[in-house]
Symmetry: C2
Subunit: 308 residues, 2 copies
Amino acid sequence: MSLLVVGSIALDSLETPFGKKDDVLGGSATYFSTTASFFGPVQLVAVVGEDFPEAHLQFLRGRGIDLEGLTREAGRTFRWKGKYGWELNEAQTLDTQLNVFESFSPNLPQAYRETPYVFLGNIHPELQSRVLDQVKAPKLVAADTMNFWIQGSRPALLKTLQRVNLLFINDAEARQLSGEHNVVKAARAILAMGPSRVVIKRGEHGALLFDQDHIFACPAFPLSEVFDPTGAGDTFAGGFMGTLASASYDKVDGQLLRKAMVMGSVMASFTVEKFSLERLREVKRPEIHARFAEFKKLTHFDDLGPLG
Amino acid sequence: MSLLVVGSIALDSLETPFGKKDDVLGGSATYFSTTASFFGPVQLVAVVGEDFPEAHLQFLRGRGIDLEGLTREAGRTFRWKGKYGWELNEAQTLDTQLNVFESFSPNLPQAYRETPYVFLGNIHPELQSRVLDQVKAPKLVAADTMNFWIQGSRPALLKTLQRVNLLFINDAEARQLSGEHNVVKAARAILAMGPSRVVIKRGEHGALLFDQDHIFACPAFPLSEVFDPTGAGDTFAGGFMGTLASASYDKVDGQLLRKAMVMGSVMASFTVEKFSLERLREVKRPEIHARFAEFKKLTHFDDLGPLG
């Protein structure tokens, strides 16, 4: 089934301990849609400026992503400049130029309005709500957010959350949103805000999926080389939502959600291996399946048996 | 099979955001031996002072722990005073009084010298080596260490490591010991120092087991209330080594090591639920087995199946 994503397309300038790149392809919707395109049809809603390279659009089109919802506006493309230290966990934002993204007002093509799976990338929560006003009867709405909106647009965010089934959020943001330091308490507080499920992302420590009654813990794939963590969270969401949307059965049950978590981790583990979307551009389906199998070896163990 | 532990017995004064306790039972050998005693026979080598309460010895004896290697010396018992903030990850040491522990020189009773499983708690690496001089043909030697020895007694520690099969170490210490920031590289560097296996403990993020060819990731049990993390690492080691020593089969293989990791996490999850050893004193075997089963629910997922 189809999957709709609304978010940013950016030109990123990145600095990590391993190198520096200017004006490379980035943005939440870019990472998400590229990743999700490995699993099935994706519809993209975003905006770029006059300076956005045609080659990038060709790349997205080449991945089978529906670009009817992508508009090109007068002005420059959204730009983000960030720097990572040796810790490679949180980026230090050096510069943000919203440019055409500042007046972004997502308008869904008719063909997108009945899409069953919706991912609201990290944009203003009022815009997220405006997207939901336009979709008819989504089967599952997932969203991402960030500290900037939690702090600056809390009422709008809380309104949006009441219409969201699943929230992706990192651990620091979960604490900020909930006012709870403990991750289990933070998750419960977020579940009380509307979503029936919350995924708390913990970078190199993996991710936790909570619903009212269950917790699933998925590690990050242990990599000896991490080059650029940019886009890891959106890649995770793309692998997760792509897995749900592509399932051959109709029920979003616990086992499918667990597979989605692992696939999110699998895809994120590829993204961080190279700069920008370089690794996602080259990775092949057999590698993805092989790494999924590696996750099983990484985490599974036998019953206790005759011990003790 | 029997399990030998050499380490500290302490009277701890603890302060957490949830309360304060003075002169409660603590020490690496205490947490380790109490935990391991759930799984089979344990032999303890440690020292206490004249002020050490008889009731604590009765408790250890009551758990079936062999105290022949425990000596009572003139002077006061080792005391540690620590404080935890809301993060509840790393203790701030407020005071350390070595007392009788300062001149501790482990001397193994004859009956201990053929014990197959040996755990060298976090003591001076030269003392750890001296213990190994006294054991005959151990099947598996595991050790713990800390930043203090990594920084101050590195040559002695490196010597000891050449005689150790498995090292338990936390992530910050693994970085310090190896000089590698990346956890996979840190583990590989430590494996090159002697141990054929290393367990990197990451507090609330769980633990990773590395050997030359495999990695096993075990999460920490997600708890909504953590009262006192003191002893979590030694409890982990006690559950781990107790599982190995109690196995009904002779081969320390990958599956047994995985179970040992999970049992370490299970036991540590109990310890942190209350102050000192309070929770370990009351926990019952069925609860332990039930939580082991919970870990399976927490981590296991189906094969990918017909997706994508």
